[in-house]
Symmetry: C2
Amino acid sequence: MPAKRNTNASSKGSTSKRDRILDVAEKLFAEHGYDGVTLRQIASGAKVDVALASYHFGKKLDLFNAVFERRSAYLNEARHEALRRVQEEAGTAGPTVEQIIEAFLRPLELAQETGDDGWRHYLALVAYINNSPYWGRRMMSKMFDSLVNEFIDALRQALPGASDTDLYWCYHNMSGALTLTLADTGRIDALSGGLCSSSDFEAAYDHMIPFMAAGFRKICGS
Amino acid sequence: MPAKRNTNASSKGSTSKRDRILDVAEKLFAEHGYDGVTLRQIASGAKVDVALASYHFGKKLDLFNAVFERRSAYLNEARHEALRRVQEEAGTAGPTVEQIIEAFLRPLELAQETGDDGWRHYLALVAYINNSPYWGRRMMSKMFDSLVNEFIDALRQALPGASDTDLYWCYHNMSGALTLTLADTGRIDALSGGLCSSSDFEAAYDHMIPFMAAGFRKICGS
DNA sequence: GTCTATACCGTGATAGAC
DNA sequence: GTCTATCACGGTATAGAC
């Protein structure tokens, strides 16, 4: 799951300055939030002049939006496609809850494991935004509501008789667990005394998918 | 679940300036994060001079820590007590997964519903910190690991044969869902077209508790 | 001890010269 | 595209009022 341009961190010399600004901004915004990062830190990390970020993107907020939007189309497409595939395979019966959740989540794991750190940082940034009362309200719906509602539609079909409020609350639970996974805070490492690692995305999703499916069935099952 | 001093927002005139600083800082840090708030905004909101925060708390970071710590002892005690109570009621058989999770989560709902906005803001701040790669690493363990491990011990007993890695990953899922609930971002409101509200904490926990119990049983069940 | 006024000095975003 | 200047704002120290 590569981005369109070369976003491999190991080849910084060959990426355009514009892309380097986006890469560094992505990483820093993900770790420190919007206000925790200065344009000077971004410029310094990208080895460009302070003013170049403004030249390419305008205001700091515009750069923030540019980072958030850069990978969104690709990601939405990958998840949409994953859902379409399980629906096609399942035929008229429709896919199971597990299959739908798998289609919702696995593309994220794949992105995190491409070896392109950019995807890890990007998804940590999505986690930051989704969990923020300030940014979440402003930025999540435009970018993700359409895709999420596709999945909720599929779940509604797989769980006949489920009320919409139950479906949305179950989605909320899944979204929260996913958000904390994307944030990759190292918390589970400390809590478990090193037994688990928040960077072990395979383990995270392997546990998340059946866990969430069971939760959905419990609340929304017939 | 009142704080020791008067933290009712409606009686600002009667609270000490020191407490007003904590109250305003709590609210602003929860919404905008550490770097998104200036001492001047806090002072202005509390209707005190800029220098007073430094006088009482020292550096900005010390104020941040003071806010984070102010309600933690009370909260940990309430949750510890809730666990102790279900354990006592259950006797030697030990409490069920549902009872343990209920003890873990309900005290938070109660705090959010006291009518004291301070508790809502405080818990949103905990959500901000827990989901932050930067702050989560630095602040969560010291404050919450001891309590969380009590609950994990109880769950280990209620789910004999469960591996510790499974238990920790299940806890991670629950913690993520809880974190997003505490953050109170209004996301579910927009997504559901107003059908659900992230401020409807009763609905949130009523859906969360059986959902999480089912997830734990699925992953850790015998 | 509690609190305010003010000053200091570094740093931030951004505009404009080149 | 780059460099520099600007000017507001940030955290914090200090002096002293009550």
